[in-house]
Symmetry: C2
Subunit: 275 residues, 2 copies
DNA sequence: CGTCAAATTGATCGACTTCAATGCTCGTGG
DNA sequence: CCACGAGCATTGAAGTCGATCAATTTGACG
């Protein structure tokens, strides 16, 4: 209990704090907590009570594996360490509606907090790994480790922001796709990866479901963006050729795309960069 | 500081706790904190430290007034006590994209936590009132009052859930509107109001923007739902006549609405309940 | 009563869905 | 090794839902 008090006031470096607390906690676990906090962008400069350092399990999933199914009891909250996921809802007639894509440092399963069960399913798009936080211990842990509490608030807030990035709107299909690509670009940049070289971890079908279109339309829209020299498309590898142009194009909100807003493709000579 | 410790362990009723803490806090403020926690559905059975009971201001807004503008510095987080709001984003060419509608107990402005500024604007749809929580004191307060922390987590989780209720999808306009009405019905029921009598606090235009349609289409869709005797529409007063039918209808995910899924409206005699 | 915004209704047109057929990769097994 | 198939992706053709433009009605408020 005294540890908890010191946790609130202290300002030692965590490495020291753990050593001070001197509990019998394995080195691996210690690093996992630090890694988790670092992953979430927290500035760790406070004491972490020893009894808060319960083992944090790291779960690995291979591509296509389900993290949890729709309707499953909400026993855990997850934080993505590596890889990527899709969150989706399956309607009664079997249509799969993708609600979000999650990447590094994203929180998964938090929407279950208010329900007790998961309203959506989550599957890995590639080989991935997540930190697993038991729901029951989650809140007490957050209550004792202030920096974790802040980090979670911050991450959830970010999730709420992403909602606004791509709401339906009365926008043309190509514009929606352009926004989506820019979103991925920003996310990649935030994770330290090259911002103009995007590897799509999801299928065209998933993108279509996410954007409220059909996969055929997505295919055509990719073709259009390529024809206009905004991007180069080769399977799931996307290269953004004209960032400023693409950003300008993505601002159009009406359906009817003005001729002036896209580059004069002349007689559409189709200068697609092909291998 | 001792108060804070007792706050973690204690399990007295708050009314007593406040009296125990015995600080010079006005009666009004005391009730406001309780009201706020009660509003958010928290089971208040722990001691609240006296120094956590800083004044909680209640801000009143008349219909059409802005709670905050897009891009404004994020100094506060708000909780709706009465009334309703719309959250929206204005694109460069002036199009107003509605992102969410907020009602009783909803948290507003939380998406600004990760940015430092508000990515969206919020205006009151009717005369309303919100509790104002200063951002700077918010986290320290949540850290000391565990029940508040939980309540916020819970409320934000609920907000994440609502996202999934209405994502774009390749669904017919009438189906989207049906889902929207059912959403409002559920919300009204959660606030203790009659679930089948809905008063729309937002304009058709706002609904259109929210659902990614035009207001003309919304108007026609209302007409269609009325023609099929799912609802009775009179200006902004909606009465749900056939809940089960409407729910069944709202499950259709494809655009092409099967003839079988809607009730045989015969020769469309239009039995709209009109005065 | 006159003005303005919200809401309804109609007509036309285009973008996206839908249905259908073909290419393309990759993994499996004969 | 190549044939085979499964899933993903692309391309084409036709139908239609919803956007757009435009006119009218309704209701709210000064």
């Amino acid at each position: 209990m005294n540890n908890a008090i010191r946790a609130v006031d202290g300002s030692f470096e965590v490495n020291h704090a753990v050593r001070f607390a001197g509990a019998a906690v394995g080195t691996a676990e210690r690093h996992r907590l630090l890694d988790l906090l670092h992953l979430m962008g927290a500035q760790v400069n406070e004491v972490v009570p020893a009894d808060a350092l319960e083992p944090i399990t790291l779960r690995r999933l291979s591509a296509g594996a389900a993290l949890f199914h729709e309707g499953a009891r909400a026993d855990f909250v997850y934080v993505v360490r590596t890889g990527s996921f899709k969150t989706f809802h399956t309607t009664e007639d079997g249509y799969e509606q993708v609600l979000a894509f999650a990447g590094r440092a994203d929180v998964l399963g938090f929407d279950a907090v208010c329900l007790g069960y998961h309203p959506t399913a989550v599957v890995a798009l590639e080989d991935s790994a997540v930190y697993v936080l038991p729901m029951s211990k989650f809140f007490t842990l957050a209550q004792r480790v202030a920096v974790l509490d802040r980090a979670v608030h911050w991450a959830v807030s970010r999730q709420l922001c992403h909602r606004s990035d791509l709401m339906a709107g009365v926008t043309a299909a190509e514009v929606r796709l352009a926004r989506f690509l820019l979103l991925l670009s920003r996310r990649a940049a935030a994770s330290g990866q090259p911002a103009l070289r995007i590897h799509l971890s999801m299928s065209r079908r998933d993108i279509a479901s996410y954007l409220g279109l059909t996969h055929e339309t997505i295919s055509r829209s990719f073709g259009a963006l390529a024809d206009w020299d905004y991007v180069a498309v080769k399977r799931r590898e996307i290269e953004i050729l004209d960032v400023v142009g693409l950003k300008a194009f993505s601002c159009v909100s009406r359906r009817h795309v003005e001729e002036a807003s896209r580059p004069a493709s002349h007689v559409s000579s189709t200068v697609r960069l092909s291998p």
